[in-house]
């Protein structure tokens, strides 16, 4: 049976892995290739690199990082951040990326999902969706720019649309839960998962091992993603996977 996946996410800015502190100030926490190697040894099932560089030079450094990582690590690499065209996707895949995560460019031009999945195959097109609850409207909406811009698009509608357009996977981040470490947004993820028949990676809210157990017990999502709790070893991937295994979940033990 297919394994539940545990995925660390590395935010990369100008060639370094950084960590946001309450959305202000970024702290340098290391070299991406070194950190990727550590995660490979700890048994991460995949890695996500999110390029948050603001400059062309920063984006170019990302290509070098993918190339260097892919030479040493033989696990799947997903690259996201600022990807807006078929030629961007081609460049990243040629450097060694396996999947491409597209966020705001897909909202701006949903046709990109269709084109990209036709050209490269839907299996390498992952659509990242940042979701926030609006208490006034009692509904969830898609946000961009790190949760600061409301697109006004209903999250459930967008999720269905992405799947229809040919997305191979969805990376759903619950912005209200992100960084709070109180657990994943189980209610939303359950509903989202029922709407589509492509894999969903859940993101936002993991603070301890129990949150992953809860995620896989309460929902049918395929994978759980987190960043800082893995970086600072609040949760160690190897221990987490053994815990999941003991709880009866199928995981890859290395």
């Amino acid at each position: 049976m297919i394994k539940k996946r545990i995925i660390p996410c590395l935010d990369v800015k100008d060639g370094r892995v950084v960590k946001g502190v309450n959305f202000v100030g970024l702290r340098d926490i290391g070299d991406p290739v070194e950190l990727a190697k550590r995660y490979n040894e700890e048994g991460a099932d995949e890695l996500v690199f999110l390029d948050i560089s603001k400059t062309q030079n920063g984006h170019d450094l990302m290509i070098d990082i993918i190339r260097d990582t892919a030479k040493e690590l033989f696990i799947p690499l997903t690259i996201g951040g600022g990807i807006s065209s078929v030629s961007d996707i081609r460049q990243l895949l040629n450097a060694g990326a396996d999947k491409i995560s597209i966020n705001s460019a897909a909202l701006k031009d949903p046709g990109l999902i269709e084109t990209a999945s036709e050209v490269f195959g839907s299996q390498c097109i992952c659509i990242a969706i940042d979701v926030k609850y609006d208490p006034a409207k009692e509904d969830c909406f898609v946000f961009t720019h790190g949760g600061s811009k409301d697109t006004g698009i209903r999250a459930y509608d967008w999720i269905v649309r992405c799947a229809e357009l040919g997305a191979g996977e969805l990376l759903i981040t619950s912005m209200d839960h992100d960084g709070v470490k109180q657990g994943f947004d189980l209610d939303f993820l359950t509903k989202a998962n029922a709407l589509v028949d492509i894999p969903i990676i859940a993101s936002g809210g993991a603070g301890n091992e129990g949150h992953f157990i809860e995620l896989f017990r309460e929902t049918d999502v395929s994978a759980g993603l987190a960043a800082s709790i893995f970086h600072n070893k609040e949760v160690e991937i190897e221990d987490l996977k053994h815990k999941l295994h003991d709880e009866g979940f199928e995981v890859r033990l290395t």
């Binding site: 033989f74 996977e169 028949d197 890859r252 290395t254």
Partner: protein, 191 residues
């Protein structure tokens, strides 16, 4: 010398990386004459069966592969494995027909693509129980010569082998150390 078939489709960088790690010399070529001179052929591929089959035909690679198959090892990976079979409903196209079987959309109660790590079930010790990374929408059906499968609703054919023809549905170049070992063994003689 290993010849990776270059037909400008899909991502071959990670196969090159894996061969470098395993220290096998290789060339990347879409030239039938150059491919004929290689000892082992790797047919990679991600993407669409119909377009891949069309490109292979147009470049004259299909004829070369059919000729090479008589005497040398050919290893098809992912879509490259599917191309070894008779036909696919993806693009309704013919494959190389080196292996018996047809490619169809995966019929499963689970999500599609079949994406992630799954365990091999095989009578071959080199494959049995290994966790490997899959990512595909279509699978081989009614096939003979399947030597490993993975359960995903149906038993998904994971490795096919008939004499010197080997098909690998998962990505050995993305399946960690276990995957590299499987790729190495496929190159050195199969399972």
């Amino acid at each position: 010398m290993i010849g990776i078939v270059d037909y400008s489709l899909g991502n071959i960088q990670n196969i090159k990386n894996a061969l470098e790690k395993l220290e096998f010399p290789y060339i990347l070529s879409g030239n039938p004459a150059e491919l004929r001179d290689c000892d082992v052929i790797i047919l990679p591929g991600v993407g669409h069966f119909g377009s891949a089959a069309g490109t292979i035909n147009a470049l004259g690679i299909k004829d070369a592969l059919l000729e090479i198959a008589a005497s040398k090892r050919i290893i098809g990976i992912c879509l490259g494995m599917q191309l070894l079979f008779e036909s696919s409903e993806e693009g309704n196209a013919k494959g190389l027909g080196l292996l018996k079987g047809h490619v169809r959309k995966i019929d499963t109660p689970h999500v599609i693509p079949h994406l992630g790590w799954n365990t091999l079930e095989s009578s071959k010790a080199a494959l049995e129980g290994k966790d490997v990374y899959f990512i595909h929408n279509y699978m081989v059906e009614d096939a003979k010569d399947i030597v490993a499968t993975s359960e995903y609703g149906p038993q998904v054919p994971a490795v096919a082998q008939k004499d010197n023809i080997i098909g690998i549905q998962f990505h050995p170049e993305k399946s960690g150390d276990a995957g590299l070992k499987i790729l190495e063994q496929a190159i050195l003689g199969g399972f």
